[in-house]
Assembly symmetry: C2
Homo-oligomer: 163 residues x 2
Amino acid sequence: MLDSETKAVELPEDHAEELRLWLRLLTCTTLIEGEVRGRLRQRFDVTLPRFDLMAQLDKAPDGMTLSDVSKRMMVSNGNVTGLVERLVESGHLDRRTSDTDRRVQVIRLTKLGRAEFRRMAAEHETWIADLFADLTPKDVRELMRLLAKTKASAQKSAGRRRA
Amino acid sequence: MLDSETKAVELPEDHAEELRLWLRLLTCTTLIEGEVRGRLRQRFDVTLPRFDLMAQLDKAPDGMTLSDVSKRMMVSNGNVTGLVERLVESGHLDRRTSDTDRRVQVIRLTKLGRAEFRRMAAEHETWIADLFADLTPKDVRELMRLLAKTKASAQKSAGRRRA
DNA sequence: GCCAGTTATTTGAAGCCTAAAGAATATCGC
DNA sequence: GCGATATTCTTTAGGCTTCAAATAACTGGC
């Protein structure tokens, strides 16, 4: 006979629920992201990654290093390099080498960049509100809680893998 | 004096909670997606879009048209064209023109494609289970419910925009 | 049968993104 | 100060992705 521990190893566990949850999470995000992307393009002729980068910088008046940005946005370093290049080119960002560490590039929003971002952000916020309009305040609170738990769980799992 | 209706229009509403929710949703998805992407690459040297496409086809033994795939995966038509091209090239997909409509391309998994997908999918499922491991069954159910509601809300909003 | 409109797919240009390798600079231990 | 190691950023190669325009094929009304 099998004891319960052996059973747990040998019987294939059923993870179908988690899989469905993941697919649903992905669908929601893709749906909303696509909508936001399209509206940003239509209304402001700006891409979502550019908007996201400006959003990070708007919260950091003293600027950020490229590494900071890369970590915050959860994208690769090389990605940030190109993104910043284009935004400097278009006059939205200012970029300078750090005084204390010549490896480091510090970027900030220019006056133009900040003004344009604020204008876009105001409208963006109404889009998000509209996209989530059918959720009650309680739904929102509950989702926040469960997503925080999900994030923690995923981070733990990701950490286990690299450890 | 302002009546309540005028107030509602004139006072800028506070959508900060919804915005935070959206950012958290995005963070969760990005985190998990990045993890899955990395593991697929490491273990099977396959990209996430390829895996996703094969997953769609695995559920459709009779094949799918490119448009079907494009709708299901929520990506553009042009995207699917290239993705399919590479997977046909590598022998994972079979592609033929429909008998009844010469515009339509029907794609299927090849024997090789199906075998490789099944092998990857089995492991993939355990990754997902691990990433969501700290959620209780109740958490999972509740998230499913709230995300379904979110999806419906977002679809409604997206529809309003296009209407 | 033919024309107008629609649908399925491809193409092209631009941008986004990653992983991995490389260059420049900083830091630590000695 | 020197060398080993680490960090910051860029570069490269390849793939993904979108949008918009183009091509090809179907459909319905006449």
